[in-house]
Structures are given as C-alpha cells and as structure tokens.
Symmetry: none
Subunit: 408 residues, 2 copies
C-alpha cells in the first residue's frame, strides 16, 4: 500500500490575462487524476511564506523546516554525495580564478567559475589531501560547483562567506559572526583551508595544462552559505516507512539523503526540460514495489518559470502529461497517488512565490469532489479546501490505514 | 507597491431569517471589489476564538496576540497618547463620584461616570502632581475615561481592579493576584495612588464648582484591567516596512502606537456612524504615497452591531460603500487592497463572535475567482478558502514580491 508523491517543481503560477501555463496546457491525464481524486490548494510551508525547494520538500516529507533547515550548504553537500552528519559544517563552493601577489586573501577574483571548468575530479582529489585540525570532505558538483564540509568538535556555522560574489574583488577572509569560541575556531580553519586549497590548486598539473592552453586556472575555491547539519531523524525512524526519492537535482537528492531516503537518479534524468521522463516514471512504478513512499521530483517546470518562458512551461507540462499516462493504470485500491508542486514559480515573477499549489490525492477511498481539471483556478473548489505541506503525508497515510490512532 | 488594509470593525454577522446587514445592503462597490479580487473567509485569531478588536488587529498586523497581548490597559494608554514602554503597568480608568466618610476604600460609588463629565483636562493635570515611589503617567480619554500608567522597577500586572463595577458598592482595595513581591508592591502603590487621587480630586476647584452647580463631583478615579506592556518589536524592525494606522478609536490607535506605527485621525473622524468617511478615505489614499502598509479602520459597524441595530448597520454599510468609491480607481498593478473585518458583531448577539469574516484581496496578480458579491454567504466560495488573520499580511507581501524566500 504505497504512496507515490509526484512533486512538479514550481508548477503553478500567477495568472497573466487570466491564464497560467497549467490552466491552458492540454493535459488530459492530469485532468483525469483531478477527476478521480480529491482536490485542494496547499501552502507547502504556510500562507504567504515563499518556499525554497529544500524547505518545501522537507515539509512535504513531514519535517518542519523551521526546526530542521539550517541553510542550503548541508543539503547541497548531501546532494552531491557527501555523507553528512549532525554537527558538520557545510559550504557551497565554486572553483574560481584569482590573480595577484601574496596570500589568497590578497588576490582578486578574475572569474567566479574558473572559465566554466567542466571536470574538476582531479582537483577535488588533490584538495582531499589537505591537512587541517578537523576532518575535511570535498565533493564536486556540476561544472565549477563543489561542496566542502568540515567535521570535528566545536564547529559553528556562524561564520562569513569567503566568496566576494563579484569579479574584481578580493577573496574575503572568513570571520566569526558570533562572539563565541566555536565561530572563531571555524573561521580560523576555513581561512587555513582557503590558503592551502589555493596552494594545492595553483600548483596542480591540470592548472598548468589549462594555462598552457590559454584557459583560466581553477586556482581557488570560494565558499558560501555555511550551514550546520542538524540532527534529523531518519524517515524510517520517524515513520517506520521506507522512502525513495527519484530526482536528478542535487538539492532534492540532498533532502532525500538528509532524511535517510534511498535516492535514485534514473539514466537520462537531468533535471532540465530534456530529462528522460519515461525513465523517471518507470523508476517510480518500479520503486512502488519495494518502498512505502516514493517521491518523484520533476524539475523543469521550475526552471522554465525562472526563465519566464510561458510557452516552454506549457509545452513541458503537456509533455509531462503524456509521459505520466502509465500512472493512471496504477491500482488505486492499493496505491495512493499525490500530484502537487513544491511552490509556484510564476512566469511574471521568475522566482518562487507563496501562491498556494494545487494538490490532488487519488485513491479508491477518497471523497471524490466535482473538480475535473488540474489547475490553479479549479483546485481550491475541491474537497481538501486549503491544507499545509506538513499535513499532506499524514493524510495519505491515514487513507492507506497506516496511520496510528491518537488517543482511544 | 503599498498595501491598503481596510478593516471594517464587526462588519459581518450571523443570519436572521437567512439575512445579514451585509448580505442585504446595496453595495455595488464592495461587490465590485469581490469580483476583482480573490475571496475567502478568515479567522482573525483562530476558529471559534472570539476576538477583541485589539487582539484581532494585532493578528492582522502579523503579531501573535497570544504572545504580544497583555490586556487592554497598555493599548488604551497608548491610544490616548501615553508613550508606554515595556514593563509599564497600565490601567483603564474612569472618573467617578464617591460618597461617605474615611479613606477612599470606605466610600461608596454613587456614579461610575461622575455625571458623564466631559472635560477632565484640569483634573488630569492635578493628578499628575501626585508623588509616588514610582513614576506616574495619567492621560484623559473621551468623556469620563482616562488611562493611568505606573512606571518603575519591579511592577506587575497581577493585581486586582479598584473599580467595583457597580453603583452602591464600596471602592475596592487593590490586592495582589500573585504571591510575589512585584504584585504586592504594585498593589500598595495603586492603593496609595487611589487615596492621593481622591484627596486631590475632592479638593479640586473644578469639583467645588460642579458641586455648586448641583453636578456630581468627579472625586475618584476607578482603575481596571491592569496590563504590563510587553516587549513588542516595531513593525518597521519586524518587516522593514512603514506602517500607518488611520483610526479614530483609542483602542485601534493604541494598537498602532504599540507597534510603532504613525497614527492619523483625520478631521471629523469620530469612530461612530456620523464619522467623516470621505476624510478617512482621502487620508488613506494620501497615506499610500508615503507608507508601505496603510490600515484604515472603520468603527461604526461594530457599534451598530453592539446596539443590535440591523437597519442602522445596513444603512451604514451602504454609506460606506458609497464613500469608498474612490478606492476602486487605485492602480491595482501597484497597490494591493484588502477589505475585511476584525471580527463579527452579530445583531442577534450584540457582541463579538468568532464567526469568520469575509476577506477579499484585490491586485492585478491575484488568481481571480468566481465570487462577485461581498458577503458572509459568498466569500467562502473564493480562492483563498479559509485563512487566518496572522497570515493575511504575509499573503499580501508575497503578492507584491516584497516577501523573502525561506530556503533555496
């Protein structure tokens, strides 16, 4: 009796001339799900609170983001594959090009992406050899991106970025943002790492090769967004259920890993509009065999919203509609299917907003309503009225009679 | 990109023979706003919790009243113009007539309004000269009303009223309501004030004049509703936004001052049904030029509800509808207009109830719904479904893209 939770990132919108990509898209399968299920609108965090994809996914999995979210760093680090632990301090990082004399902090950023370097695997290996008073974990992300984690006693995330976030500026020294020993110690370690990383990178054969080819050297790692990994109970411990997250996006994979889920990225799943939707849908159907809760994340709608691409978002929704057709054949006497979004990414705003998302829950036992179209203009008329993200999974588990009674 | 929040006090009702003043009033402009906007119902505090106008206005401004409300005293004191500070203990007070021998506590209340005395300004001046172990602040309210504030170390609001709340009863001695030194100290100071105030008033020339004219002496000040002013972050500090409150009612002006708003009472604004609505609407339109959030409070609907005057409430709603016509010409690509109430004051109950209030949010970017009439019987069919007072401003700030993202 599994739950399939399909989260279409940034799916919903604000109207432009009364229309949204979702409302005008041809989407017979999504509409059929609306017709079969019980519909409503949902504030993934709370009304008027603009969700990140990380905070909203935590909430959708039943984790209060106000309690369990401490910034993007730890989630990105988990997303790229670092086995992050409570107390670790994680940073997002990018390989950059710096120039000038003296220490790393005397040098000027020439390019924040090191000439859009693609393969940093050799550089990452070299960085891992750096010796620090605490344990160091480094992992590459896509392109010039990376994650850096410091592990040891008495560290704190109350420290500043070393990334000046602009070219032509000097690399910033990490400073404590709190008047305590932990923050001071962490800042010192970060600065030691910054200098040692620069030395390792500057002298790395790959960078000599790049220089010879006229490419920019990836000779510094700039850090930002320190976050301390909180104590997050695993989904299994919390609910007794096996969770699988199917995603290609590091941030969502990170949320999955932080809560102890198995994370699957099917072949060809990319997190953009050319992703292999068939493979993702197939992976989801397979996962329903061996997991209690399967979260299927679809990213491109959000990107197309950030791009302000109305037609592109509409077209991708139509493609998605086509590709999810096999899900309509699931046995809804056993499976509970939920279709929703993590937040709105309106074309007009090009960023996340708090406009509530449509949600439909399909299962044989739901109280079906009169909604027969999946859109921002119909969902609120449904039998769920307006719910919150933190409540969604509880509603599904209740439907499946997995929920426990509170009281007698 | 400002928010205009129009709060029509006690606007909504319970039906009598299926009708409410709002549902039967002729109100083309209010209905037009409903048609242009997204509608819903709102529990200003929580479902089933009967709001005061003070607690509900705190909630509508985003302040949790369970955290920031400590009784009517401090808010009334702020409302009449006392610059109240955290830790101050404030009382509502009324000038009264007492008779008998001995101390103030041996005397009997003859009239709780001192013959409906109008001008107490000379008496207030004299009271301010009283010497106490702590600082004393006194300010007149309307008619026989006043506010009294004690300021100093170690005071508490856990003390009883001195107002016996009935004629023919003796003035009550203030007693501590908690077994601690602060409450004991405060009660002693209150009792010292009661006696000294009585002496000052009894011998005041104005009271000798009143006696000569056969009027009742205003020879005592009765205190009730002790409240300690809590630490309330200013609206500006909390949100970064400039708030203006347009109101004539002391309680609402007090809420405004407590949160650090600029408070405007336009010429002719009275807080009753003869108030100058044109002036209030004009002041609101002007305020939108220089503030981020403008709260326009309209009081008379509540009074007419307390009076159980169905026809009077209906007639005032029709007048209000006419006078707000200029607001329909606001530029809703910039301004977000919210029309709602702080609570219901049903004709049949003659007091506040928790029946949810209708709310409409008008802005170019809202997801318009099919509601085209502003009433208790239509609002719930709208796209907002059912929200809470604390969420309202967040929803508006999200619409105006002022909201910050929580997460990544």
């Amino acid at each position: 009796m599994p739950v399939l939770l399909i989260v279409v990132d940034g799916l919903s919108d604000r109207p432009i001339d009364g229309k949204t990509p979702l409302s005008v898209a041809r989407k017979p399968n999504l509409d059929r799900l609306a017709e079969m299920g019980i519909n409503g609108i949902m504030d993934t965090i709370a009304p008027g609170i603009r969700p990140g994809s990380d905070t909203s996914h935590l909430a959708l999995l039943g984790y209060d983001p106000y309690k369990y979210y401490s910034g993007r760093g730890p989630i990105e680090a988990a997303g790229v594959g670092i086995e992050i632990k409570p107390g670790d301090v994680a940073f997002r990082a990018n390989f950059a090009t710096v120039e000038g004399e003296g220490s790393i902090f005397d040098k000027t950023v020439v390019d924040r992406r090191a000439g859009r370097i693609e393969d940093t695997s050799e550089l990452i290996k070299a960085l891992r050899e750096i010796e620090l008073p605490v344990e160091l974990l480094v992992e590459r992300g896509t392109g010039h991106r990376a994650a850096v984690v410091f592990r040891g006693e008495g560290l704190s995330d109350r420290v500043s970025d070393t990334d000046p976030k602009a070219v032509g500026k000097k690399v910033k020294r990490c400073v404590p943002l709190a008047d305590d020993a932990k923050a001071k110690k962490t800042a010192e370690i970060v600065n030691e790492f910054m200098q040692k990383a620069h030395e390792v990178l500057e002298n790395h054969p790959l960078n000599r090769e790049r220089a010879e080819k006229g490419l920019l050297k990836a000779n510094a790692l700039l850090l930002r967004g320190a976050g301390e990994m909180p104590h997050v109970p695993s989904f299994k411990d919390k609910t007794g259920l096996r969770l699988c997250v199917i995603a290609a996006t590091a941030l969502i994979k990170g949320v999955g890993r932080v809560v102890g889920a198995d994370v699957i990225t099917p072949e060809g799943a990319t997190g953009n509009k050319n992703t292999n939707l068939e493979a993702k849908v197939k992976a989801a159907i397979n996962a329903l065999e061996s997991y209690d809760v399967v979260l299927l994340h679809i990213k491109a709608t959000d990107e197309l919203g950030h791009d302000g691409d109305f037609e592109g978002k509409k077209a991708f929704i139509e493609k998605l509609d086509e590709k999810i057709a096999p899900l309509l054949d699931l046995d809804f006497s056993k499976t509970c299917l939920i279709l929703t979004a993590d937040h709105s990414t309106p074309i007009k705003v090009k960023d996340h907003t708090a406009d509530p998302v449509p949600v439909v829950i399909v299962h044989e036992d739901v109280r079906r309503d009169e909604v027969s179209s999946f859109s921002e203009f119909e969902a609120y008329k449904g039998g769920l009225c307006r719910i919150r993200g933190m409540d969604l999974l509880n509603i599904a588990l209740d439907l499946l009679n997995i929920a426990k009674k509170f009281g007698a």
